[in-house]
């Protein structure tokens, strides 16, 4: 008669040492936050808040994912909080892009009057190269705050439009315009900065 041996593997929750978290995950979380928040001291605050929330919440942590990703999940919420706070201090100008929103091309087709120029290079061929992502991060950093926040929440974090509108205190059309502008600037920045580095 065979008996099933229960696994005695310790869960991530049991094996993690919070006193080592800063060394193990500090840099990773900081870079994650810095990309999304841009300001170094805000990003550091978000990381600190994440670790402290992690300590407080460790008892409730079910250990089903790696501690790194659990902490990252907490950080994502802190990032949203910081964006919400930033927008309260610097509200989005919701008159910008009204001309696009009022245009027939937007009303009828959901596109802009001015056609989107084709890419000067095919970015998908560069996705294997780390240098491309370095340029991507730099270009993201060059966006205006509201544009970056809209891009981060919608495209990087995949947040539903309705929720972003609450976080940023804007209408769906404003979000659309912000993301449209963000994409235009990112495209032009990448075209400028990547082409030069490509062999």
């Amino acid at each position: 008669m065979t008996r099933m041996k229960t696994t005695d593997q310790p869960t991530p929750k049991e094996t993690t040492h919070p006193e080592q978290w800063v060394d193990e995950y500090g840099d990773y979380l900081y870079r994650f936050a810095l990309l999304r928040l841009k300001d170094p001291s805000t990003a550091q605050d978000a990381v600190q808040e994440t670790f402290l929330a992690g300590i407080k919440g460790l008892d409730q942590f079910d250990g089903r994912v790696d501690v790194k990703y659990w902490l990252r999940g907490i950080l994502r919420n802190k990032i949203v909080d910081h964006i919400r706070k930033s927008v309260r201090e610097h509200p989005v100008d919701d008159t910008e892009g009204q001309d696009i929103v009022d245009s027939y091309s937007f009303k009828l087709f959901g596109v802009t009057d001015r056609p989107t120029k084709p890419w000067q290079f095919d970015p998908s061929r560069a996705y294997e190269k780390n240098a491309f992502w370095k340029a991507f991060e730099e270009c993201l950093g060059k966006l205006g705050d509201n544009m970056r926040q809209a891009f981060v929440l919608k495209m990087l974090e995949g947040m539903p439009t309705e929720k972003i509108c609450k976080v940023m205190n804007i209408q769906a059309n404003n979000l659309w315009v912000l993301n449209h502008r963000a994409r235009l600037q990112l495209k032009s920045c990448l075209e400028k900065n990547w082409d030069r580095e490509e062999e």
Partner: protein, 87 residues
Amino acid sequence: MILTCKQVSKALAEGDYKDLPRSQRVMLRLHVAICFICHGFNRNIMRFQDMVRAFRGKEDELSFGPALPDETRARIRAEIEKQRHAS
């Protein structure tokens, strides 16, 4: 079911085209491929969605960028210790 440009644009504004149910995704891609009105604009959005998806897959491996400054590390460690001894 024939998709309009507006429906395509709305779908792309709401989320990643790769997350659409297969039949809708096929219809959307077909529309964008052949429609002279919205091809340029929506193809670009899809390209960015591809780019961000690729970035998310790569982000963990990338190691460039600043490290957490030493003073901040020390400050956070001190806060963590305070927190742990308080609970």
